[in-house]
Amino acid sequence: MTAKKVCGLLAAGVFIGVINGFFGGGGGMICVPALLLLGLANKNAQATAILIMLPISIASAIVYYSNGFVEWDMVLYVSIGSVIGGIVGAYLLKKLSNNVLQYIFALVVIAAGIKMLI
């Protein structure tokens, strides 16, 4: 691995950590393109990104917990829905070949962002 690539990965780590710690998410959306940019294959980038996000999320969650922001009953209910949704989503992904959903997602996220500012 070249020194340039190591520096790129370290810089990506700094940026991903800041985003995920501050916003409680979104790190994966930066991690995958960053790893792709640094030469990883698509599947490897996706898989490695999830492993990177795990300890970051755990470390950030501990800080959020120590600040009193965790409500465990909510975590339980949302987790149940999220695990089911995750399985269904992964299944649907195989069925869908076009990227219409990516456009819809982008527009929904932009609309939500605008709504949060108003």
């Binding site: 985003i19 795990l54 949302v78 929904v108």
Partner: protein
Amino acid sequence: MPWYFLALAGLAGGLVGGMGMGGGTLLIPILTMILGVDQHTAQALNLLVFIPTGIIAVLIHAKNKLIDYKVFCIVVLPAIATAVGAALIVGKVKSETLGIIFGIFLILVGLFELFLAIRNSINNKKKIKKPVLKHNLYPPRDRDI
């Protein structure tokens, strides 16, 4: 708040996440804007909800030998350090202010995702055009007839 509202919010976030898009970027605004959850609580919730799903996904990917552990080791240390730092800072930011900053972040993420979608569309079009090129491989005699 009824438990099924929270489960439905999780379902929506999980669906999007399972399809490889940012589940959390959708789950957090659903929780804050529709269900009225505090911004900090929603963010903490998103971090914790990711953990069980993430563990399952990592186990599957590790079994399929898709993880680059060298890359992981380099990225993870600065990421943990800055994540803890950022989480400590965010605890001191007012919920309303954080909501506004999060809104700006969402717009940027959405624009980035839009750029990726457009790029994918262009790449897909190129892929579709490829078989046409194969036509040129036919012997000239066939084309002349």
